[in-house]
Every structure is written in structure tokens, then in C-alpha cells.
Symmetry: D2
Subunit: 126 residues, 4 copies
């Protein structure tokens, strides 16, 4: 029995999916949640996340989320918003997130073998 159901060590992806299903159905918001709208919403929220960092130097972007609690909370909320729309989209498509990520990770491991890409990343158009 999990002692803290809200920790990443105990929470399953299904528990997040169920939270989103309940939230949407309690409000009858299914009609807004077409896959197209959920993809747009995830994209908008991810941009709001980026907005928090857009004028920071790389160094500032590393230190500010540690040193500035209001900034850290804002970042957390935008990460949560983006994840929530992605999870809702997975719900609407009846998509298993864990196996989809595992399959993509396997593909990425083949595409970027460590011995070839250690310490550098092939940039587009290079």
C-alpha cells in the first residue's frame, strides 16, 4: 500500500489518466476535447512553459528554478498543464503511454548509439 499516493515513486500513469477522465466527465467537457483541440492546448501550454525561460541565459535558466520559489511554482504549473492535456489526448485515443514511450525510446537508442553520440548531438542540417 503506497504511503504517499501522490509521489512519482508510487503514482502510476493510469492514476493520472483516471484523474483527467473524472475531471472532464464531471464538467461534460468532452465536446471540447477533440484530439485536434487537445493537441493545440498541449502546444499552447508548452509555449507558456517556454515563455518563462525565453529571455534567460542558459545559466539563469538553471539557477532560477532553484533560487526563486515563485518561478519554480510557475514552471511546475506549466509542466502540469502540458502533461494534463497530453494525458487527456492519450485517454481520447485509448493510447497506452508507457508502452508508447518505451517503443520510442527503443527507436531513439538505435538512432543515437552512445558510442557514436557521446558528448555531442547531431543538429539538424549539420
Amino acid at each position: 500500500m503506497p504511503t504517499d499516493p501522490l509521489s512519482d515513486h508510487t503514482a502510476t500513469i493510469e492514476s493520472l489518466k483516471q484523474q483527467m477522465r473524472d475531471f472532464i466527465s464531471e464538467r461534460n467537457w468532452e465536446k471540447y476535447h477533440t484530439p485536434k483541440n487537445l493537441a493545440a492546448a498541449a502546444s499552447v501550454e508548452a509555449a507558456e512553459l517556454l515563455e518563462l525561460f525565453q529571455w534567460l541565459t542558459p545559466e539563469e535558466s538553471s539557477h532560477k528554478p532553484i533560487n526563486d520559489q515563485r518561478f519554480r511554482q510557475a514552471v511546475g504549473e506549466e509542466i502540469a498543464d502540458t502533461l494534463m492535456y497530453l494525458i487527456s489526448l492519450a485517454n481520447s485515443l485509448d493510447l497506452d503511454v508507457a508502452s508508447t514511450i518505451a517503443a520510442k525510446m527503443a527507436k531513439n537508442r538505435l538512432k543515437y548509439p552512445p558510442e557514436k553520440f557521446r558528448g555531442h548531438y547531431e543538429r539538424p542540417l549539420d
Copy 2:
């Protein structure tokens, strides 16, 4: 003991976080993964997800991921890519995703009480 470690019913968020940590450290890619770059990457991947739906009608966006297996796989991969960058960002900030989502959901429940928002959503500027 989970029979399928890759299903949403058994996979914890921590297991996704660990996969991402391993992938990055095996390639020494930490230097690229500033919070700013990860936020940009999540935003770019979410836009690639939106791109798949951008010219579809709402109805097409609901049917195509069911009827067209290549499309469904493409959608799954973009969802996975976006999630993977968000999870890496959570790793880099040492952020517990499950409790952050729970806190944001609690806020949203207060902001959108079901009895007031059932069946409709207050649009910006309305």
C-alpha cells in the same frame, strides 16, 4: 509483481524518469539539457503533434487516429517525444510530477466548479 512493466496500469512516473536519466547520461547529453532548452524542445515537439491535426476538421481529428494506423503511430510518437522532454525537465528541476499535477488539479477544481461549468467552458475574453 507486474506482468507487463510497460503498461500504464503498472508503470510509475518514476520509471519513466529513470529511463530518461539513463538515456541522457549514457550519451553525456546533460550539457544540452538546460531547463531552457528542454522547455523549447517540449514546445517544438508539441507543435509537431499539432501539425498532424492542423488541417483536419474536428470530426476528422477524432476518426483518423482510429482508422489510420500510420497516423495513429505518428501521433503516439509525438506524444511520447513531448512527454519525454517534460519528464527530463522535471528530472533537471528535481520536481515530483504526480504531486505537482495533483496540486494543479486541485486549483482547477476550485476555478471550474462543476455546477457552474457543466457543459460549457469560459473562453478567454468572453
Copy 3:
């Protein structure tokens, strides 16, 4: 002599570029305006533009900017913000926008010959 220097019929792209140059240099903001930051800012503003439309049906998205003056103004401001960052990026790269657009349009005309694409658009992955 233009009677209204602010109309699309009289304003050149150079006049927009000059406005942006002046605005930035009056504030010594050049250090923030790396090409990377300007690309991020344009992307964030374009997402704010999308946010205004994200939950609307296609029909609502056509009627609301005509019938709702506050909405129309909000849309105009987000279009302006996105354009302003793109023009600043063109400034920072010393890029001629008009000839770049003309070249891309010529490419698109070859890619999408009217006789083949009249009334329909080839979607990705179709």
C-alpha cells in the same frame, strides 16, 4: 507621397524593420535579441495567438473576430507581436523578407501545382 503611412498599401517592409530597430536600440535590448531568443519569442507569441482560437469550432473562429471587437483586437495584438519578433529576427540576420517570401512562394507553386491540388490539400502521412 503616402497620405496614410500606416496602411498596408503604403507601408514597406523596410518601414517595419526600421521601427523595430529603433525600439530595440532605444532600450539597449540587443543583448536579449539573439536569433535563438527571437525564434523562441515568435513561437511563444504565435501560441498566444492560437490560444485565442483553441476551443472554438471552425465556424466560431470565423465569426468571432468579426462580431466581437475585444476578441478582434486581441487577435490583432497577437498577430502584431508575432510579426514584430519575426521582423526583428530578419533584422538580426540581415535578411530581406520580401525576396525570401518570393523564393518560398515560387517553391510552393512548384510543389503544389493548382491543377493537381485544386480544392484539396495533401495531408502529412496520407
Copy 4:
């Protein structure tokens, strides 16, 4: 008479608008070009622009578009694509871009007086 109709010094915004109107009507693509879809398309193209820069350091993002001609052309094409959708959106809303930008610039001048913001920018949440 302009010696080069494609330069930013001679091209009016209206000339860009007319090019887009012709391109769309020659293909009967008006049905795809709802304001919502055009906003999504502009957002997707702006993210493709950002993608080119996402893993670069600030310094690399300044030098690469000068030193790498293939990269420079790719950046130009993404700027053009984003601008083209924004101009099409302005067309569909019958919006004068030049006066909309002038109004937003006037607002920004009041919001960011040079004497107060010279050399620094107020970041969100600061």
C-alpha cells in the same frame, strides 16, 4: 518605379497580402483557411523555426546563420512560412497589418519607457 519589386525597401505589405490571396484562390484552399487553422499553422511554423536553434548556445545561434549557408536558407524558409500564414490570417480577418503593428508599438513604448528599461527587461514573475 521600383527597380527591384522584391526588396524590403520597395515591397508593400499589401503586395505580400495579394501574393497570398492569389496562391490560395488558385488552389481553392479557402475551406482549409479558417482563422483557427491559420493560427495553428503559424504556430507550427514558428516552432519549426525555433527547432533550428533549440540546441544551439546563444553564441552559436548568432554565428551559424552567418557562417552556414544551408542553415541560413532553412531559417529564411521558416521565417517566410510563418509570415505567410500570419499574412493569410490578416487577409481572412480584413486586418490592416501596418496600423495594427503601429498601435501595438505605441502601447509597448508606453509600457517600456526607455529611461526605465534601458539595458534590462522586466522578466515575468520578477
